[in-house]
Symmetry: C2
């Protein structure tokens, strides 16, 4: 008969659904989390972030390291900056970018670990 009860909340006796509901974070957290994953879900951005995980780099170095056009790199850096995943400081005419947070590095490593374990 299923558990079609939608927006009525839970009924007694459905521990599994209760546990599931408890495991799903609230709207706001979901938004923040998916935003991070979204940032990491694109090849260009992933390259940029992976490159920065080794240390600060200016845009032209990122262009060189990632082999993506300057415009595309700049657009993506803008995105990453807006989402506070990288931060920037100027050094002469250079714009030097760094990872804003160590979690990003950890996420990358974890994903690579998973990826490496595929048969």
């Amino acid at each position: 008969m299923g558990r079609q009860q939608k927006s009525e909340g839970k009924i007694e006796g459905f521990e599994q659904v209760d546990a599931a509901l408890a495991a799903i974070p609230d709207e706001e957290l979901i938004f923040s989390a998916t935003e991070i994953f979204s940032a990491l879900s694109d090849s260009t951005r992933f390259r940029i972030l992976a490159a920065l995980s080794a240390g600060a780099l200016c845009v032209s170095d990122l262009v060189c390291a990632t082999d993506v056009s300057q415009s595309a790199v700049s657009h993506q850096l803008r995105l990453l900056r807006d989402k506070k995943l990288v931060s920037m400081r100027r050094d002469g005419q250079r714009a030097v970018y760094t990872l804003a947070d160590d979690h990003v590095k950890q996420l990358i490593d974890l994903a690579l670990q998973h990826a490496a374990e595929e048969e």
Copy 2:
């Protein structure tokens, strides 16, 4: 003068770029990693995976727990299955889904941790 050398590989004396290049995984690994992040980057899929992180659930329970239409849940489960992030077994007319891998749970936790630390 920048380091515009594109597809020519590296030159001597650019340690930072060298380190960056070394930190960027090869094509195949990037693909696998971004695919995982991509799966986690959508709110519906994130809910599904978060729900499953608490234990196995059938589709109707997932519909109930996530408050997403049955069709949408089914479509996304298909995706997650194709990407081997969940696995499925039949139990009568029910289809019971489970997380295929503990890494997914770790990724979710790490992202939530990051999200929770925002100012």
